[in-house]
């Protein structure tokens, strides 16, 4: 059977599974729709959190980023896992004790203010839509490559599936599909990693393969990779090019952002007890670490394989995957010295993004209209394809390729569904029920929740078809926004009784406005700003600015709280109650 048929079977089977689970676990009440009834086992919740959390960026982009930026990519590895320590130690148990439906619920009640709730909803919507755009684009990439559908159709199919189980099942449906999606995605990630590790190092454990010697030699994978890259004019794989301050800021923004992401936080509302929330965060990180400790090995192997299969290879004899990915515009080769051989090296081969003329050159390559650069390098590859192309590059059988396609779709869909749910809950619960139309019935609220989930899917699909930037880059910005707005407000709400309504609102507004303006200033084409270290504030990139935004939030909040009315006694009692797992203290209320 050819790879494409296998892919249809694998992806089709996984879709049938998700739909089956959705029908089995329909939500009948708002509690089931928002928090799955609050009785999810901590291990199941850990798996669901891991799938919710590991998006197209983790599955598709991260190993590619590691492959092409080596040590610099450590910010993602540490940032996207270290946040769970903050979540488990500082937020999850207390939010579970508080025990409502949404993140704005907590902010609205703790800061005794509808304004605080609405500000939190606005922050949540900005964060979640930034994040979801990347997921839909990920679905599009997988579909267009493996099922040979146009990207738009890929996005529409993905929307249809998510629509089905998110709208029907709410949090309950999403939770159990995410458990299935975790199993699919982790299996799809580990199988090729193990094969490739065996091929390159003879060691079946990729985490150990990273430090092992290459088969038939006495040089370790990393040493060989460092040597090969330096020869080609790159920085060594194990050394970075980012400044320490920027590395620090990005890692901090990603960690704090992780702890402040509403779709992750809300998962801890679904377990029965406070102690379960802590334990569940631990299980979630175990499930995540399984992929995250594999990714550096996958990245290093992929880069090594990539160098060997393209550098100094005649294009006519290049492996098939080079041509298939070139066919959908994610690889471009410009034969600058007309020798028919691919030369690989540092620097961009030509100016700007690949602009294919539609004609083919003497070796059969797609010709480019771009102006060549002085660099000797002739080939450019989209980093997002490394995980998807890895099995082909390593010459693995078709079913592995098909499995990876199903895994990529699972990663993107599980995260998209989680995001859609928090968006719809914030609209139907926080805006309608708790702010503007408190008199609506539970049935009407449930209908509104389904309606807003459906509307959010349409917006997400639009963003997926007209994507801003590549997957991980867009996603990385959402963390800065979460770090600078929601995290400080929740954290201070639990640990500082003196933090009042005025302080929290001013802090959230200042933090998100500062961070968003900085990102838009450097990332959008509107201001003509030069996006490099010489122009950044203190040399901190837009990816890392959330760390500064968080500091702005804390400082503004503390300043404003000093000069405004104190927190009312009832709210202080509520804080006392959420700090203790049992209801003993709560009975004082």
């Amino acid at each position: 059977m050819d790879t494409q048929t296998l892919t249809y079977i694998f992806v089709g089977f996984s879709f049938a599974l998700y739909i089956g689970i959705a029908i089995w676990s329909r939500a009948g009440s708002t509690a089931e729709f928002y928090i799955a009834g609050g009785d999810v086992h901590p291990i199941a919740n850990g798996m669901a959190t891991a799938a919710d959390w590991m998006s197209a960026a983790s599955f598709i982009s991260m190993a590619g980023i590691i492959a092409f930026s080596g040590y610099d990519a450590s910010v993602y590895l540490m940032g996207w896992t270290g946040g769970y320590v903050l979540l488990a130690l500082l937020l999850a148990p207390y939010l579970r004790k508080f025990g409502q439906f949404t993140v704005p619920d907590f902010i609205g009640e703790r800061y005794y203010s509808k304004t605080a709730r609405v500000v939190a909803v606005i922050c949540l919507i900005i964060i979640s839509f930034t994040y979801i755009a990347g997921q839909m684009r990920g679905v599009g990439v997988v579909f267009s490559r493996f099922l040979e559908l146009p990207i738009e159709w890929g996005v529409i199919v993905g929307m249809g599936i998510v629509f089905f189980y998110a709208v029907l099942g709410g949090m309950k449906g999403i939770t159990y599909t995410q458990v299935a999606q975790y199993c699919v995605l982790i299996f799809a990630y580990l199988v090729p990693a193990v094969f490739i590790s065996i091929l390159i190092t003879g060691n079946p454990v990729p985490q150990l393969g990273l430090g092992s010697d290459v088969v038939g030699g006495d040089v370790s994978v990393l040493a060989q990779l460092d040597g090969a890259l330096v020869d080609l004019g790159f920085t060594a794989f194990t050394e970075g090019s980012k400044s320490k301050l920027d590395m620090f800021a990005i890692t901090l923004a990603l960690m704090v952002g992780t702890a402040g992401l509403p779709h992750v936080i809300v998962r801890f509302f679904t377990v029965p007890k406070v102690s379960d929330a802590r334990r569940s965060a631990g299980y979630a990180l175990v499930f995540i670490a399984l992929l995250y400790t594999t990714a550096p090995a996958v990245g290093a192997f992929a880069r090594l394989n990539y160098i060997h299969s393209v550098d100094q290879q005649s294009y006519a004899e290049a492996p098939g995957w080079v041509k298939t990915w070139e066919g959908i515009g994610l690889i471009a080769w410009m034969d600058k010295n007309d020798d028919g051989v691919i030369q690989y090296g540092a620097g961009a081969p030509f100016e700007g993004r690949a602009d294919y003329t539609g004609e083919t050159g003497p070796s059969g390559e797609r010709l480019l209209a771009n102006a060549p650069t002085d660099a000797a390098n002739e080939i450019v590859v989209d980093r997002d394809i490394m995980v998807l192309a890895n099995p082909e590059i390593a010459g693995l059988p078709g079913w592995v390729v098909a499995l990876v396609a199903a895994g990529g779709v699972a990663a993107a869909l599980s995260t998209a569904a989680g995001l859609l749910l928090v968006i719809s809950a914030s609209i139907s619960h926080d805006l309608l029920k708790k702010t503007f139309r408190p008199q609506i019935s539970e049935r009407a609220e449930l209908l509104a929740a389904r309606g807003s989930a459906a509307a959010a899917i349409v917006v997400a699909g639009y963003l997926g078809i007209n994507p801003p930037g590549f997957v991980a880059q867009v996603v990385a910005l959402a963390f800065g926004l979460a770090a600078s707005s929601l995290f400080p407000a929740i954290f201070m709400g639990i640990f500082f009784k003196a933090m009042n309504r005025e302080g929290a609102i001013a802090g959230m507004v200042a933090g998100i406005v500062f961070t968003l303006s900085y990102i838009i200033y450097f990332k959008s084409p509107w201001f003509g700003a030069v996006n490099n270290a010489d122009h950044w504030l203190f040399g901190i990139s837009p990816e890392g600015i959330g760390a500064v935004g968080m500091a702005v939030n804390f400082a503004v909040a503390a300043g404003v709280a000093r000069f405004t009315a104190k927190t009312p006694p009832g709210v202080r009692d509520m804080v006392d109650a959420i700090r203790i797992p049992t209801s003993v203290a709560a009975s004082e209320k």
Binding site: S74, V85, L89, L208, A585
Partner: protein, 93 residues
């Protein structure tokens, strides 16, 4: 604090419990900071002079070690909190 003075014993217990919790969290966050920001970023160059099974140590912390320590930290927190909560009689298990 006002209403709590009626039940001084309970309020004191809650306060002591909270203090223990804060102490534990601070200790764990110090380790969290050292393995990631410390070993993985600030002191990576020094640590890279040492090799751990074919991987420079600083690089290993940045891409593997810190993640493994994070997992351990959460489970240590879960275990210690369980003990603290039993001691203060506020366990929900």
């Amino acid at each position: 604090m006002d209403r709590k003075s009626e039940q001084p014993e309970l309020a004191d217990k809650a306060k002591l419990y909270w203090r223990e919790n804060i102490k534990l969290v601070c200790g764990l966050l110090v380790v969290w900071f050292i393995v990631s920001f410390g070993a993985g970023i600030l002191f990576v160059d020094v640590l890279n002079k040492v090799q751990l099974g074919g991987v420079p140590l600083g690089f290993w912390f940045a891409q593997q070690g810190s993640i493994l320590v994070f997992v351990v930290l959460i489970f240590v927190y879960v275990g210690r909190m369980r003990a603290i909560e039993k001691r203060f009689g506020v366990s929900d298990e």
